[in-house]
Every structure is written in structure tokens, then in C-alpha cells.
């Protein structure tokens, strides 16, 4: 009964989110996010169909849609980065480099582990792969949030909601995937209710923050700055290079 309530609750909020997004034209501002919601909604119906009509395919369908959903979710992370740092080229560059560094480290660690144990692919479960993917996603979100904090990037209500809701969901997923398949079946029911419940909390955060369009605080002022910035870009570049040498000299002293 409870699982049905959680499931239908998700469907209802997702539908409402999409309708409101269309009405307030938020869909065109945050296309990756709304595509993610649309995908999750579609996958729920697909799973329902397979569960009732092709139950032997359910397991395969469930895990493959989960993986695709993680990949589509990466689009949401990219959108948070793109929209949040649009007016801050410096912070944007820092974020891009940090993420590249992070993915390189993750790749090197992954390759090193695979090289040490050639049978890892055969031994690794679907849950472990999913947990790894979610953890890398959580790490990228964590790096982004640290950058937003460090550079005091002001967020509008809409983007704040997307980040907070999706961050909560990813963090919850990582924790859930860590605990759900360990410790025997003692807390199994608890963890299996928790996962969809966490997603419902994220949906409520989104519906609360994305009811109508609220611009990011920097949008108006940055437009003025960008116009001036185009003219000052060449001069600033030269001066920044001088500043770099000052900085390097000061640091190397």
C-alpha cells in the first residue's frame, strides 16, 4: 500500500512539474532538467508495462533504464554548471578544470583497479556499477557545490531548487546503494522504501522551487558587465598575465 502511494505520488508530482514547466516556460530555460523528469516519468510507465505484461524482462528493463537515467542525470549536472556559472567566466573555468581533473582521477583509479584484478568485470554486480556511477556523479556535484560556495555564486530560486533536489537525490542514492545490499535482510524493507521516498522529497523540493520563473540574481547585472567585458577582454588578459607573474613571484618567494 505504502509503495503504491509513493509510486503514484511520484507520477503525480512529475506530471505537475512538467505541466508547470510548460506553462511558466521553464522548459526552455532548463531543457536538460525537464528532459530528465520526462525520462523518469516515461520509464515509470515502461517499467509498469513490462512488470505486468513481460515480467521476465522486468529485471533487465529496470537496470538498463536505471543506467540511462544516470546518464540523463549527468545532463542536469551540466545544466547546473552551465546556467549557474554563465555570468562568471572565471568560476566557470575553474569548475570545468576541476571536473576534468576529477574525471581523470576517477578514470585512472578505475583502470588501476581493473588492471590489478582482471576478473573484476565478472565479479562486479549491477548494484556496484550503479553505485560507482552515482558516486562519481556525487563527487562532481560536491566539487561544483564547493566552487559555488568558494566563489559565493548567487543562485536564483529555480536553479537552487534543481541543485538542492538533485543533490539530495544523488547523495541519498549513494547512501542507499551502500546500505541496501549489505547487512543482510534486516533493514531491507526500510532501505527499499527509503529510495523512492527520497526521490519524492526531491520532487517536492523541485515543485516548491520551480512553480514559476525566478531569474538568477546575476542575470541583469552580468548582462551589463558582459557588454563591457567584451571591450575590456583584451586589456584584462594582458593585465591578468602580469597579475599572474605577481602572484607567482609572491608565492614562490
Amino acid at each position: 500500500m505504502l509503495d503504491q502511494f509513493i509510486w503514484w505520488g511520484s507520477i503525480a508530482i512529475e506530471t505537475l512539474l512538467l505541466v508547470r514547466g510548460q506553462q511558466s516556460r521553464l522548459v526552455s530555460r532548463y531543457p536538460a532538467f525537464y528532459f530528465y523528469i520526462f525520462f523518469v516519468l516515461s520509464q515509470s510507465f515502461l517499467r509498469l508495462y513490462v512488470y505486468h505484461w513481460k515480467p521476465s524482462f522486468y529485471r533487465y528493463t529496470y537496470w538498463s533504464t536505471e543506467f540511462v537515467s544516470i546518464l540523463v542525470g549527468c545532463g542536469v549536472v551540466f545544466e547546473i554548471f552551465r546556467v549557474g556559472l554563465r555570468a562568471y567566466p572565471g568560476a566557470s573555468r575553474m569548475a570545468r578544470n576541476s571536473l576534468i581533473l576529477l574525471f581523470l582521477v576517477a578514470l585512472v583509479v578505475g583502470v588501476a583497479i581493473a588492471a590489478n584484478d582482471p576478473r573484476w568485470w565478472a565479479q562486479t554486480t549491477v548494484t556496484q556499477i550503479q553505485r560507482t556511477m552515482r558516486t562519481v556523479q556525487a563527487l562532481s556535484l560536491f566539487a561544483l557545490v564547493l566552487l559555488f560556495l568558494h566563489y559565493s555564486i548567487p543562485f536564483g530560486r529555480n536553479l537552487r531548487g534543481i541543485l538542492f533536489g538533485y543533490g539530495l537525490f544523488v547523495a541519498g542514492s549513494v547512501i542507499w546503494l551502500t546500505f541496501a545490499y549489505t547487512g543482510g535482510g534486516r533493514f531491507r524493507n526500510f532501505w527499499f522504501y527509503l529510495y523512492p521516498f527520497l526521490y519524492d522529497i526531491s520532487l517536492l523540493v523541485w515543485i516548491g522551487h520551480l512553480w514559476g520563473y525566478r531569474p538568477n540574481p546575476q542575470t541583469q547585472e552580468s548582462a551589463q558587465f558582459e557588454r563591457q567585458y567584451e571591450r575590456i577582454a583584451d586589456a584584462t588578459k594582458r593585465r591578468l598575465q602580469e597579475a599572474r607573474s605577481y602572484l607567482d613571484r609572491a608565492i614562490d618567494r
Binding site: 575553474m94 558516486t135 560536491f142 559565493s152 563591457q228 588578459k237 605577481y246 608565492i251
Partner: protein, 186 residues
């Protein structure tokens, strides 16, 4: 594959970061209107109000302590240590606040600079973290062992904070210099 502990740590760290982010967003929105249009505006350059080096050396100097010790008066020694500790703690807290202010101003300027350097930013950030950790350690040590035994580490903190301040000043001046070269009308 990523271990259970690592995955759990990442999940919890993300949760904590999100909570801090949510709490900080309100204050960021309030501060937003005071952010200047130009990167490195000197109105926001922010300098650490560093004490003269002689004063810093004096706060942590053993000379005064040795002089007081020669009086063999426990009450005077206790009074001296208490007062010196208060002055030392005040200096460390002021230095720490100054460092944080300089870094905040630097971040405000740097986030708009298109040609930001990842390595420079990272090294400044690491230096900043190092300084904050040293300040926290100093606070702990001053409280536990007292200022006279901390002369060397205090001088080190002092030198590092001056370096950060110079670096940020140079950055702010060069950026503001670039801005003044731009014609004000199209």
C-alpha cells in the same frame, strides 16, 4: 570499484555541502548587490591589517617571560601569562579574519576574470587552507601551552599572511588598471 566506505563518505560529504550551500545562499543574496562590476575593484581589494613584525615577535617573545620568571612571583607569572594569552588569541583571530576577508575579495574578483589560472587559484586556495589550519592550531596551542613557546610558528604565519595580502593586492591593481584603460562610452 569504489569501496563502501568511500561511497558513503562521498554521499555524506555531498549532503553536508548541500546543507551549507542552502544556509549560505541567503547571505550571498544579501551581499550580491555590493559586488562591483569590475573584477579586482580596489574598493574591495581588502588588506590584512597586519601588526608590525616587531609587535608579533614581542607577543610570542620569551624575553618578557624570562624577565617575569626572575621575579619568582607565581601571581605575577599567572597574570602575565593570562594577559599575554588574551593578546595572542586576539592577534590570531584578527589575522584569521583578515585572511578570510582577503580570500573572499579575491574570489569575488577572480570569479569574473575570464583568464583565471587554475593552478594559481589552486595554490592560493591551498595556501589559504594552510593558513587557516595554522591559525586554528595556533589558537589551540596558545590556549594549551601559552604564547611564549610559540615564537617560531607565529612568525611563519605572519610571513605567509603578508604574502597572500601582497598577491591579492597585485591581482586587484592589475585588474583595476585594465578596467581604467577602457573607454567609458561605446
Amino acid at each position: 570499484m569504489i569501496g563502501l566506505i568511500s561511497a558513503l563518505t562521498v554521499g555524506l560529504l555531498l549532503l553536508i555541502a548541500l546543507v551549507v550551500f542552502a544556509l549560505r545562499q541567503g547571505s550571498t543574496a544579501r551581499d550580491f548587490h555590493s559586488i562591483s562590476e569590475f573584477p579586482g575593484d580596489l574598493r574591495h581589494s581588502g588588506e590584512i591589517e597586519v601588526c608590525p613584525p616587531e609587535l608579533v615577535a614581542r607577543i610570542f617573545s620569551r624575553e618578557d617571560w624570562e624577565l617575569i620568571s626572575q621575579t619568582h612571583s607565581p601571581a605575577l607569572e599567572r597574570l602575565f601569562l593570562e594577559e599575554r594569552k588574551k593578546v595572542a588569541l586576539l592577534w590570531v583571530r584578527q589575522t584569521s579574519r583578515g585572511i578570510q576577508q582577503v580570500m573572499r575579495n579575491h574570489a569575488d574578483a577572480a570569479k569574473q576574470a575570464a583568464d583565471i589560472r587554475f593552478r594559481t587559484e589552486l595554490s592560493l586556495f591551498l595556501m589559504y587552507i594552510e593558513l587557516l589550519l595554522i591559525c586554528e592550531t595556533l589558537l589551540l596551542l596558545i590556549t594549551t601551552v601559552g604564547p611564549p613557546r610559540l615564537e617560531r610558528i607565529a612568525s611563519y604565519v605572519h610571513e605567509l599572511s603578508r604574502q597572500i595580502s601582497y598577491a591579492h593586492e597585485a591581482f586587484a591593481r592589475s585588474s583595476a588598471g585594465a578596467a581604467t584603460e577602457i573607454p567609458t562610452s561605446p
